[in-house]
C-alpha cells in the first residue's frame, strides 16, 4: 500500500436524520500508521461518521473513503481490511467464547491464533463460557480479541471503554498498544472515538474535535500540547480595556482573569504584565483540557 493513500478520508460529509444534521460537512484525513483521536461530546456526530465509514449508513451528501475506496461500492474490499469495536458489543447468546471466535474467524482471510491465545490468557476468558454469561467488561474484551486477531490495517474503536471498570479500561488500551501495534506499525492505523480523552492521551498522534457535526479543531497531539496554555492572572482590579490577543476567556471577574491562549502565550503574557498583575500563572494543557476549553461555551463567561 503506498503511503499517500489515506486510511480514512471524508470530504464534506453530511448525514441528516429528518431535519437534524448529525454530520454537517465533515472533512477528515487520517494517514496510515497513525493513532487518530476523534473527540466530541455525546451527540456530536462521532458514531454517525463511523457508521458512514463502515457503510452502515449512507451519507446524505459528501464522500467517505476508506483506503481510498468508497465503502458502499467496495464493501468487501474495505471490510476485509478493517475491524470495529462498538461501545455495546453483542454476540450470539447460544455460542461459547470459542464458537464465537471461530465464527468471526470464518469471515476473515487471516486469523492470528498466537494473538488469540495470548489475549484469552491475558483476559482470563474461559473459551467454554457461553457469551450470555460474560460481564460487560468481558464482552468488550472478547470484541477486542475478535477485532485484533484478523490483523486489520485499520482498527475503528467507537467509545470502546465507556462503562468499563478502570482495570479493564487500562488493559484494553495496553492491548491496543501491545498486541495490535505489534505487527507492521506502518500499516496499523487506529481511529478511536471517545470522550474519555485522558485515558487515550498517550496513544493519540493526531486528533479532530467535532461539535454539532462539524470539525472544530484538528491538530497533531504534541503540537497541541505545545501551543495551548492556560493563564491565570490576579489584579488589584482587572483592567477594563485589556487586549488579550484573541485568547479565549474562561473566567473573568473583578480581580481575576483566566484565559486560554493558542500559540501566542509569550505575547499575551507581556500584555498582561503591563497591567502589573499580583499573580500570573501559566500552565500547559492536556488534550482533555484543550477539548474542554475548545468547546467551552463562550457565553457562559462575562
Amino acid at each position: 500500500m503506498s503511503d499517500n493513500i489515506l486510511a480514512i478520508e471524508t470530504i464534506g460529509l453530511v448525514r441528516r436524520y429528518g431535519r437534524t444534521d448529525a454530520v454537517n460537512g465533515l472533512n477528515l484525513r487520517v494517514r496510515p500508521g497513525r493513532c487518530y483521536g476523534f473527540f466530541g461530546r455525546n451527540g456530536a456526530g462521532k458514531t454517525t461518521t463511523i457508521k458512514c465509514l463502515l457503510n452502515l449508513l449512507r451519507p446524505t451528501s459528501g464522500e467517505a473513503r476508506v483506503f481510498g475506496l468508497d465503502p458502499a461500492k467496495n464493501e468487501v474490499a474495505v471490510k476485509s481490511r478493517i475491524a470495529y469495536v462498538p461501545d455495546h458489543v453483542a454476540f450470539y447468546p447460544w455460542m461459547t467464547v470459542r464458537q464465537t471466535l471461530d465464527y468471526f474467524a470464518s469471515f476473515r482471510p487471516r486469523w492470528n491464533e498466537q494473538t488469540e491465545a495470548s489475549l484469552l490468557e491475558r483476559f482470563q476468558l474461559d473459551p467454554r463460557q457461553k457469551t450470555t454469561h460474560l460481564s460487560k467488561g468481558q464482552r468488550t474484551q472478547l470484541g477486542l480479541i475478535a477485532a485484533i486477531c484478523p490483523d486489520p490495517e485499520l482498527l475503528v474503536l467507537d467509545e470502546p471503554t465507556s462503562g468499563l471498570d478502570p482495570i479493564v479500561r487500562r488493559e484494553f488500551i495496553q492491548t491496543v498498544i501491545g498486541a495490535y501495534q505489534e505487527g507492521d506499525p506502518g500499516r496499523r492505523t487506529v481511529f478511536v472515538s471517545t470522550h474519555l480523552i485522558s485515558e487515550f492521551e498517550g496513544l493519540i498522534d493526531e486528533f479532530t474535535i467535532i461539535d454539532r457535526g462539524r470539525e472544530v479543531l484538528t491538530l497533531d497531539a504534541d503540537a497541541a500540547r505545545d501551543r495551548y496554555r492556560k493563564i491565570y492572572a490576579r489584579f488589584a482590579a482587572v483592567p477594563a480595556a485589556l487586549d488579550i490577543g484573541g485568547s479565549r476567556v474562561l473566567r473573568r471577574d473583578a480581580r481575576e482573569l483566566e484565559i486560554v491562549v493558542n500559540g501566542n502565550a509569550a505575547d499575551v503574557i507581556d500584555r498582561l504584565r503591563v497591567h502589573a498583575p499580583e499573580t500570573l500563572e501559566v500552565e500547559a494543557l492536556s488534550l482533555e483540557e484543550i477539548f474542554v476549553s475548545t468547546l467551552h461555551p463562550a457565553g457562559a463567561v462575562a
Binding site: 493513532c35 498498544i177 501491545g178 506499525p185 498517550g202 496513544l203 500540547r225 505545545d226 500547559a284 492536556s286
Partner: protein
Amino acid sequence: MLFQLNFKSGKAVYLQLVDQVKLAAAAGTLRTGEPLPSIRPLAEQLRVNRNTVAKAYAELESQGVIETVAGKGCFLRAAGSPFRKDVRRRLLGETMDGAVVHAHHLQIDKEEFLRIAEERFDTLEHKRIRAGNV
C-alpha cells in the same frame, strides 16, 4: 517506574522520554551497557503509542546516548558525544540561554544562578555515588 510522563508539561511526549533517559544515565540509575526496556513493554507500561517510544529511542541514538544492537535491543552507551567540543559548547550554551533568561524574569542574579548550578551538579553527583557508579 523509571520513567514518568506528564501530559500537562507542554513538552512533546517523546522528548520527555529522551530527557528522562538522559537524566537516568547522568544520575547513574541507568548504567553503561545496560539494556533499555524494549519498545512494546515500555509503551504498554506507559500507555503511550509505540511510535512515541520508537521516536524517543531514535532520537537518543542520533544523540549518541544509546546504541541499537540488531536483534538484541537498545543499550546505554558510555558517555561520549559524537560532536566536536565547540559544537558541544554551543549546544549547551543554547540550553543555558533559556535558563539565563528564565533567571532574569525570576529576579535571580548571576551569583545566585551559579550557586544553583553548582548545587544541581552536586545533587546529580550524589545520586551517581549512591547508585555506586562513580
